[in-house]
Amino acid sequence: MLRKYSNYRSFSDNLKLGALTAFSAGMVNVISVIVFFAFTSNVTGHYAILAQEIAKGNWYQGAIVLIWIFLFFAGNFTSNCLIIHNNTPTGRYMAHAIPVFLEMACLMFVGIYLQYFYTESLKETEFLVAALLFAMGLQNGLTASISNSKVKTTHLTGLTTDLGVVFSMFTKKEFRNDKKLIQKTQLLLGIMFSYMGGGIVSGLLYYRVGNATFIVIGLVLGVVLLYDYSKLQVTRFVQRRRSSFQRRYSLYDKKA
């Protein structure tokens, strides 16, 4: 999911990454609406609200929304910076894993703060929403960057547009068996259902386990990190075995 970059990624890589990260984004968005009354995985609505607050002359609220949008931007910026400045075959996994680590750290911080320190003041709410928007920016920047913009998991506007376009293509017979289009549809539907699923699970979980829901989101992201880490370890193990076997074989050849 995280090891490969750009066009080297397979459909399966994108589907797994898209589904898991969309699931976590759906969870974050729903829990933030429940707890803070603010969306944190998408910023389209925030742009509309910003315009509305400016028009109404609510400068304080406008400034807050602008800072939230900036934090989402900063998350995307940080994520892509980490990726493009460490794009070496050896450091690629780490470069792709660091944004997920940072995202997990932000989510854990919000969860712990909510559990032990939150006094429900407006300042705290604004700050915690900003942290969640930064985390979602990190995730969106990572998935979009490493998949050549094929996977975007935190907002569904573009995805719904793409689905509309793809399904309209299927009205023509020649596109119905197009493998690329079918895979694209599967990826988009996978992301859509995962996002929805994450939202529903988060809504149900929050009323049972409260702020521990953030730990569950962290675990989902942990799967993204550990899946590739385990794959890397297996690959390294096979490579080591293969090279030691080749060494032994070449020594046997020399003796013979």
């Binding site: 807050i64 900036f70 429900e120 407006l122 604004e126």
Partner: protein, 158 residues
């Protein structure tokens, strides 16, 4: 492409936002004090061409009876996060309040664990306007308007 002006523009926007946050009063501090109910109004209805009409006392009583809402005339927001509902200078109920979102949601926590959410439409030095959804008789949004009671006047009243 010259990136300098673009970076400068964004930096200025962020600095201006920070300055505005420090300079302007937040809804959380603006709401502190005593507020007197002055009007209840259906703002939007889902039938006919009516866009709004005043709610009389009887209708107000019926709305209050069927949903968890109070009939206080005065709301006193205290800095310690408590809210007192007063009716003819008598405290009818004490509860907890907080403001969520970007300052647009007023949450009231009653002692029996019931939570009410109101949308803060406007909060200024003189006026507080909140909305809540009602689907009694006619579905629509009920708008409550409050006027601030100046401190001296409130003290005299008591």
């Amino acid at each position: 492409m010259r990136l300098g002006p673009i970076y400068l523009f964004f930096a200025l926007l962020i600095v201006a936002s920070g300055w505005l946050l420090l300079d302007q009063e937040s809804p959380e501090s603006l709401i502190l004090g005593e507020w007197e109910e002055v009007a209840w109004k259906y703002e939007k209805l889902d039938h006919g061409d009516m866009m709004g009409f005043d709610i009389d006392k009887l209708q107000k009583q019926e709305i209050c009876k069927n949903i968890i809402i109070h009939e206080a005339e005065t709301w006193r927001f205290n800095p310690d996060g408590t809210l007192s509902f007063l009716d003819e200078n008598e405290i009818k109920e004490n509860l907890k309040w907080n403001i969520k979102g970007r300052g647009h949601i007023l949450e009231l926590h009653h002692k029996n664990n019931i939570v009410e959410d109101y949308q803060v439409v406007e909060v200024t030095e003189d006026e507080l306007v909140v909305q809540f959804n009602s689907d009694l008789q006619v579905r629509g949004i009920v708008k409550m308007t409050f006027k601030r009671i100046p401190k001296k006047q409130y003290a005299q009243k008591i």
